[in-house]
Symmetry: C2
Subunit: 226 residues, 2 copies
DNA sequence: ATTGACAAGATCGTATACGTTTTGCAATGA
DNA sequence: TCATTGCAAAACGTATACGATCTTGTCAAT
């Protein structure tokens, strides 16, 4: 396209990384889709080199897979990997919550409560997963450990919309909501151990539901993909 | 150098990534050292492009830092970050141990015990940290969650020899050894909860010792580096 | 002696170019 | 009809080249 002035700030690969990442996480780019380097390059008006750098970064993040001499594709998660990732979530989120509870203040409870109300009133399943994420994050944020929070987000990224579809479809609204309220109540009481125990059960149940959901969809979801 | 036949297998950035990673983790490349792209390129007999890709991957891993237009340097960890990473270790390793205990068999206990004996007999402080790592990993391996194990290794990588020096120097041999034996005993008894509790204390104590050690060394270690 | 301006060299970041490998497809033969 | 062979085009991966920016050393002015 037009030769823009090129103001030479940070790297050109950064916006490409962000754009691809958003497209993968949102599901606009489905698993297995090939990522043609020169297509992406011309879409962004750059050469292949920043594109390759962005793809390499996504590869490290687990969102993209390189096959030698055959380019990159959007990574397809296996059933096993999804369950493993939920297990990691379990560990990280419980720890974050444990650290967060003693640091929580009134406004934290208020915000969390508001999210739950919005959640309950929301008819669109699409947005449930979003509200779910927001609720969880809002509980972890006071933990004060930025790396831990980043890591939790990373795991969520890796699971992408796989979880987001499976879980919210499989779990419905009622059960998670009840558990969310119980967790928030424990936080209000300033009882980290109880809150962590509830969170643990919450995520374990989710894990089992995802496992069941995968078992049912079984081979189908792989074969008739796209 | 010599134009080798170029057998065009996987990417040229892979060996560079491995080499740089090993140099950083081993401490041969200290924190803050600039990583000149064309120097590395000519050392490996390639152009800058695969070097940049390797550096980007290391950046995602947290081992390298890019400053715009000023190239890459080996990432220097702050005191805060080290403590945060130990906290993440705490979460991941306790979960791994919890999952591993029910899967352990006799040979696992034997191997772990042998490492501890070797540990106890080892006079060289240099090797303590190595044996420490091996002991821990050997406990986690039966957990069956490959991502979790990979993540634990990644965290260890990020802490690099910072931990390895500080901790083993600060902790000495006696205290960790006692705790290791207690943890192993709990595993033998098939008591995951107890084992996890002991592991948790073990890592928390380590964290406190590192905090103290950093507090003492304070600014010095940053200013008079290299 | 310290400060500031400036020029030369070093270094970065990316576009372009090119050899290599994969892939799609048509022609051939069974 | 189906499998096989042989291109031609597409796509990959990297070396080279080049402008932009940063660093460093020199020198004049305060």
């Amino acid at each position: 396209m037009a030769n823009r002035p090129r103001l030479m700030g940070a790297s050109l690969s950064d916006p490409i990384y962000e754009a691809l990442r958003a497209d993968i996480l949102s599901g606009r780019l489905a698993g297995g889709v090939p990522l043609r380097q020169d297509v992406i390059a011309s879409e962004h008006g750059v050469s292949k080199i920043p594109v390759r750098e962005a793809l390499r970064q996504l590869e490290m993040e687990g969102l993209v897979e390189f096959r030698p001499r055959r380019g990159a594709i959007v990574r397809q998660l296996t059933e096993k990997e999804v369950l493993e990732l939920i297990d990691i979530r379990l560990a990280l989120e419980c720890r974050a919550l444990e650290l967060a509870v003693p640091n929580m203040i009134d406004s934290d409870f208020t915000v969390a409560g508001e999210i739950l109300e919005e959640y309950e009133a929301e008819p669109s399943r699409e947005r449930w997963s979003d509200l779910n994420l927001r609720f969880h994050h809002c509980l972890y944020e006071p933990c004060g450990n930025l790396r831990l929070l980043a890591m939790i987000s990373e795991i969520e990224g890796r699971m992408g919309l796989f979880m987001r579809l499976k879980v919210t479809e499989a779990s419905g609204l009622e059960r998670p909501m009840r558990e969310h309220r119980a967790i928030l109540a424990a936080c209000r009481r300033g009882a980290p151990k109880e809150a962590v125990g509830l969170m643990r059960q919450h995520i374990e149940t989710t894990q089992k539901e995802v496992a069941a959901s995968i078992r049912r969809a079984s081979i189908r979801s792989v074969t008739d993909g796209a």
